[in-house]
C-alpha cells in the first residue's frame, strides 16, 4: 500500500532529523577529547584507535561491549521515556538497584521452576519492583508537586541502603559481603554456550530483550493514544488538561513505565551477568549513565540504541587505551563534555542564531510587512 510506505518513510525522516543534532555534538566532543589527550602529551589517534580496538576488536570484545550496552539501552529508554512526559527520572539508578535485588530474590526463592517460567517470573518481578519504586516519585509529583529530581536522588540512596540491608541479612551468604546466587534456571542463556567465537564473553540474550523493549517504547510513544497523552503532558500540561487529558495520571504512568524499564535493566544484569548482588559502596552507574545515553539519543528510542552503543564502546575501550598509556578516565571526561554540549543544545542554538540572522537580513531588505 502506498500510504503505508509513505508513513514509514515519514517516520524514518522524522527519526533522522531528531538524531542529527546529537551526532554533531558527539563529533565536536570527540575533537575536544582529542585536544585534551594531546595536551597531556599523548597521541589522540593512538587513543581513539585503542578505544575502537578495545571495544570492537574481535568477537569476544564485541560481546563484552554488548554486555555493557544492554543495560544502557534500558536505562537510557527509562530516562528518555520520562523526559517525553517532561519528567527527569534521575531516580533510574535506584530503580535499577531495586530491580536487581528483587530479581536476585526471585531467582533464588523460586528455584525448581522450569527455566522459561523462572526467567520470565524473575525478569517480571525485577521490572515491577523498579516500577513500584518509581511510582513513589510519580505519586509525590502528582499529588504534592514535589520535584522528581530531588526525590529521585534521595530514593537512589535509600535504594542502595535497602539493597545492602537485604544483601547482608535476608539473602546473605554468611561471612561474605554479597548475596546468594540465583538458581541456574533463572540465568539467561549465554552465547558462549553455542558460539566458539564468543567463548570468552558474557554476552547473553538480554541484548535482544533490550532491543525489543526499545521497539515497544517507540510504539507506545508514537503510535498509541497513551503516548499521545504522555507527550502532550510533556509539551504543555495546560493544553493537555484542556484537552481532557489527566496530567496527574499520566505523570504517574510515565514514571511507572520508566521505572519498569530501569528495573528491567537491573533484573537483566542480575540474571544475565552477575547472578548475585554485592554490598554496594556506591552507585552502579548504569542509571546515571542512562541520563547521558538518553540526552545524546535525543530521547528517541532509536537514538537511545545508537547512543548506548557509543557509550558502551567508550567504556569498554578504556582499558586498552590505558595500556597505551592514556588514562581511561579520559573517557569519563569525554562523556561529561558530550553531555554538556548536548545539554546546552549547542548545535541547535547556534544554527538557530544563524537562521534568525539570515531572516532578519531578508525582511529588513524587503521594505514590506508580511
Amino acid at each position: 500500500m502506498e500510504s503505508r510506505m509513505n508513513e514509514i518513510k515519514e517516520d524514518m525522516i522524522k527519526t533522522l532529523k531528531e538524531i542529527a543534532y546529537p551526532l554533531v555534538a558527539i563529533l565536536i566532543s570527540f575533537i575536544a577529547g582529542g585536544i585534551l589527550v594531546y595536551s597531556f602529551g599523548k597521541d589522540p589517534v593512538v587513543a581513539y584507535t585503542a578505544l575502537i580496538k578495545g571495544s570492537l576488536g574481535d568477537w569476544n570484545k564485541l560481546g563484552e561491549t554488548l554486555v555493557t550496552v544492554t543495560p544502557l539501552i534500558l536505562t537510557g529508554l527509562s530516562i528518555a521515556f520520562a523526559f517525553r512526559c517532561g519528567l527527569f527520572n534521575i531516580g533510574a539508578e535506584g530503580q535499577f538497584i531495586i530491580g536487581s535485588i528483587a530479581a536476585v530474590w526471585a531467582g533464588w526463592a523460586f528455584a525448581g521452576l522450569p527455566a522459561v517460567l523462572h526467567i520470565t517470573l524473575t525478569l517480571l518481578i525485577g521490572a515491577l519492583a523498579g516500577g513500584l519504586w518509581a511510582s513513589v516519585i510519580g505519586w509525590l509529583k502528582a499529588k504534592v508537586g514535589s520535584h522528581e529530581v530531588i526525590n529521585g536522588i534521595m530514593m537512589n540512596y535509600i535504594a542502595m541502603y535497602l539493597s545492602n540491608y537485604i544483601t547482608m541479612t535476608l539473602l546473605n551468604v554468611p561471612e561474605k559481603a554479597y548475596s546468594v546466587e540465583i538458581a541456574d534456571t533463572a540465568k539467561l542463556w549465554r552465547f558462549s554456550q553455542a558460539f566458539e567465537q564468543l567463548k570468552y564473553s558474557r554476552l547473553h540474550i538480554g541484548i535482544f530483550f533490550s532491543l525489543i523493549v526499545a521497539v515497544v517504547a517507540y510504539y507506545i510513544l508514537n503510535k498509541t493514544v497513551r503516548g499521545y497523552e504522555i507527550r502532550a503532558v510533556g509539551f504543555n500540561p495546560h493544553a493537555a488538561e484542556y484537552g481532557g487529558i489527566s496530567v496527574k495520571k499520566n505523570i504517574v504512568l510515565a514514571m511507572v513505565i520508566s521505572g519498569l524499564f530501569a528495573g528491567f535493566a537491573g533484573a537483566i544484569m542480575a540474571t544475565g551477568v552477575q547472578y548475585r548482588v554485592n554490598n554496594l559502596f556506591g552507585f552502579t552507574g548504569y542509571g546515571l549513565d542512562g541520563i547521558a545515553v538518553a540526552l545524546v539519543g535525543n530521547n528517541h528510542p532509536i537514538g537511545v540504541i545508537l547512543s548506548a552503543f557509543l557509550f558502551g564502546m567508550l567504556q569498554k575501550g578504556g582499558p586498552l587505551m590505558q595500556i597505551q598509556g592514556i588514562p581511561k578516565e579520559v573517557v569519563g571526561i569525554i562523556q561529561g563534555i558530550i553531555i554538556l554540549f548536548v545539554a546546552a543544545n549547542f548545535v541547535k542554538v547556534i544554527t538557530e542564531q544563524i537562521k534568525q540572522n539570515k531572516e532578519l537580513k531578508r525582511s529588513a531588505g524587503k521594505g514590506e510587512v508580511e
Binding site: 509539551f235 489527566s246 525582511s363 529588513a364 508580511e370
Partner: protein, 506 residues
C-alpha cells in the same frame, strides 16, 4: 520651541516582519498624543525603542532637540522618559514602595534605606494626587492602585514624558474617565504624554493629537478635534470598516446550559464566582461582559471542568456535569475556544494534525488496530484546514510556526467541527486581524443559527454588543444584570460593569 520628542526614520525588523518602516513621529511639549493602531501594527515596538528596550535598525531619536542614543532603559529614564506597560511590571511579593524604588534605591551606606523610600513615595503620591499605600504588598492591592503605582514609578525617576501602553485594558468606563482626569492633571504640571491604544472612543475623549499606525508605517497625524471615530477607524484598518455583525433574529429554543448557584474559588482560595445563576438557550448567543478579573475566566473554567465548583450545579441538556473531569465535559458536548490559545488551546510543539484531534484523540475514528492511525488523523486535519481556511504549507508543520490568526482558526475549526451542543468562546478574537475576526464571528453566528448554544466571554464591549442576543454583566463574581442586546447601551453596561454605581471607591 523644539518638539519634546522627535523620532526620525525609525526602522525595526524582526524575523519575518518589518515592525517599523521608516517612522517619523513628533510629540509636542504638554500634549497628550495617541498612537492608534490595530494589534501588531507596530506601536508598542516603536515605544519600546523610545524607552530603550529595543534598538532600532535605523533612525534617530531627538529629546528636546538633542540627538540621543537610547540603548537601554536607564538612558531613557535619565532623559526623562518613563513607560507604563500594558501588562503591569510589578513584583507581587514586594511592597508598593519597594516596587517604586527598585533600581534607584535610597541608601544609608551599604544598607537599603526603607524609611526614606516610604517617605519619598508618600511625598510624590501627594504631589501628583495619586493615592497609594506605600507599605501595602502589591499582591493585595486593587488594579486601579496598581496602575497608579506604575505611573508613580515613572514620576519617581523624574519622568517628563510618559508613555502609557494600552492603559485602559483593565479599567471600567468610569475608571477610564478618572484616568483621563489624572492625565490632564499631569499635563498641567508640565508633563507630555504618549498613549498607545486601539480603542477609538478613548482617542476622541483623551487626546490632543493622534497618529495612526498601520502595518509598521505611519498613515497620518491629525488633530483630534478635527476628526471623528469613523475616519480614524478607516485609517486604522485601511478600508471602510463595518463595526456591526450581520445576523438574523435569534430563534431561541430550550435552555441547553443551566447554571444554578455556582461558587468557584480562585488560585488564592478567595471566592471568584459568588453564586451565579445563568441559562444559555439553543439558538442564542449569550455574551458575558465585564472587566478582566471579575470572575468570567473562573466561571468558564468551572463549566469546562478545569476548576472545581465549590457549590451549585451545572446542567447540560438536563444532565449534571458539575465537577466532571474535562474529558467527560467534552464528551457531553461542550466545545471550548480558550482565552489563551498558547497556554490552553494548542500544544505548540505538536503538528497541526496532532492538534486537530486534541480533545477527541480517544475517538475510534482515529484508531487502527490497537494504536493511532496517523493517516486518518492527517486526513481529518486536512479537512479542517481546508474548510476553515487555515493558511499553512501543510498539516505536518508544528503549530508554533503558524500566525496567531491561523492558530485560532484551527482551534475554532476543531471545537466547532465536533458539533457541540454548547460552544464557549473566550476572547475568541484576541490578537487577530480584522479578516480573522470577521471569520470567527461568522462561524459563531452559524453555530447559533443551527440551534446550538453559544456562550461568548469577551473584554471587548464592541464584540459583545455586536454578536450577542442577550448580554449578562459580571462584576465581583456575580451576574449584576442581564439585558436583551437591543436594549443595551455602552453607558448602561459600563455602569453595571463597575458594580452599578458610577463612583469607584478606592
Amino acid at each position: 520651541m523644539p518638539a519634546v520628542i522627535e523620532m526620525k526614520g525609525i526602522c525595526k525588523s524582526f524575523p519575518g516582519i518589518r515592525a517599523n518602516d521608516n517612522i517619523n513621529l513628533t510629540v509636542e511639549q504638554g500634549e497628550i498624543h495617541v498612537l492608534l493602531g490595530e494589534n501588531g501594527a507596530g506601536k508598542s515596538t516603536l515605544m519600546n525603542i523610545l524607552y530603550g528596550l529595543y534598538q532600532p535598525d535605523e533612525g534617530q531619536i531627538f529629546v528636546k532637540g538633542k540627538p540621543v542614543r537610547i540603548s537601554n532603559p536607564n538612558i531613557a529614564i535619565s532623559q526623562g522618559i518613563g513607560m507604563v506597560h500594558q501588562h503591569f511590571m510589578l513584583v507581587q511579593p514586594f511592597t508598593v514602595a519597594e516596587n517604586i524604588i527598585l533600581g534607584k534605591e535610597p541608601k544609608k551606606g551599604t544598607t537599603l534605606d526603607i524609611e526614606k523610600a516610604i517617605k519619598d513615595v508618600e511625598e510624590i503620591s501627594r504631589k501628583y494626587e495619586l493615592k497609594v499605600d506605600a507599605k501595602a504588598v502589591v499582591q493585595d492591592i486593587s488594579v486601579g492602585m496598581q496602575q497608579r503605582v506604575e505611573i508613580l514609578k515613572t514620576l519617581y525617576r523624574g519622568a517628563e514624558i510618559l508613555i502609557l501602553d494600552e492603559p485602559t485594558a483593565v479599567l471600567t468606563p468610569q475608571e477610564i474617565e478618572e484616568l483621563g482626569v489624572i492625565l490632564k492633571s499631569l499635563v498641567s504640571q508640565g508633563k507630555s504624554i504618549i498613549l498607545i491604544t486601539h480603542k477609538l472612543k478613548e482617542v476622541m475623549s483623551m487626546s490632543d493629537r493622534v497618529t495612526i499606525v498601520r502595518r509598521g508605517k505611519i498613515i497620518d497625524t491629525l488633530n483630534t478635534k478635527d476628526t471623528n471615530i469613523d475616519e480614524l477607524a478607516e485609517k486604522m484598518v485601511g478600508r471602510k470598516v463595518n463595526l456591526t455583525v450581520e445576523k438574523e433574529e435569534a430563534k431561541v429554543a430550550a435552555p441547553i446550559l443551566e447554571i444554578k448557584g455556582l461558587k468557584v474559588l480562585d488560585s488564592r482560595k478567595l471566592e471568584a464566582v459568588k453564586g451565579v445563576d445563568l441559562q444559555v438557550h439553543g439558538g442564542e448567543i449569550l455574551g458575558i461582559a465585564g472587566v478582566d478579573g471579575n470572575g468570567q475566566s473562573d466561571l468558564v473554567q468551572a463549566i469546562t471542568g478545569l476548576s472545581k465548583a465549590e457549590a451549585g450545579e451545572i446542567l447540560l441538556n438536563g444532565k449534571e456535569i458539575t465537577n466532571l473531569p474535562p474529558k467527560d465535559v467534552i464528551e457531553s458536548g461542550v466545545g471550548h475556544i480558550p482565552e489563551d490559545r498558547h497556554k490552553r488551546g494548542l500544544v505548540l510543539n505538536y503538528s497541526l494534525a496532532e492538534n486537530s484531534i486534541l480533545g477527541s484523540h480517544h475517538s475510534k475514528r482515529f484508531r487502527q488496530g490497537m494504536g493511532l492511525s496517523y493517516l486518518k488523523i492527517r486526513e481529518y486535519s486536512k479537512k479542517l484546514i481546508k474548510e476553515y481556511d487555515v493558511r499553512t504549507p501543510n498539516e505536518k508543520v508544528m503549530a508554533k510556526s503558524l500566525s496567531g490568526g491561523n492558530q485560532q482558526k484551527l482551534i475554532v475549526a476543531r471545537e466547532i467541527d465536533r458539533d457541540p451542543s454548547l460552544c464557549i468562546a473566550s476572547q475568541p478574537t484576541r490578537g487577530l486581524d480584522v479578516g480573522a475576526i470577521e471569520f470567527v464571528h461568522k462561524k459563531l453566528v452559524e453555530l447559533r443559527d443551527e440551534g446550538k448554544a453559544v456562550l461568548l466571554v469577551s473584554l471587548e464591549l464592541d464584540e459583545i454588543m455586536a454578536l450577542s442576543d442577550r448580554i449578562a454583566v459580571m462584576y465581583d463574581g456575580r451576574i449584576v444584570g442581564i439585558l436583551d442586546a437591543r436594549d443595551a447601551t455602552e453607558k448602561k453596561l459600563g455602569i453595571m460593569m463597575a458594580g452599578g454605581s458610577s463612583q469607584n471607591a478606592e
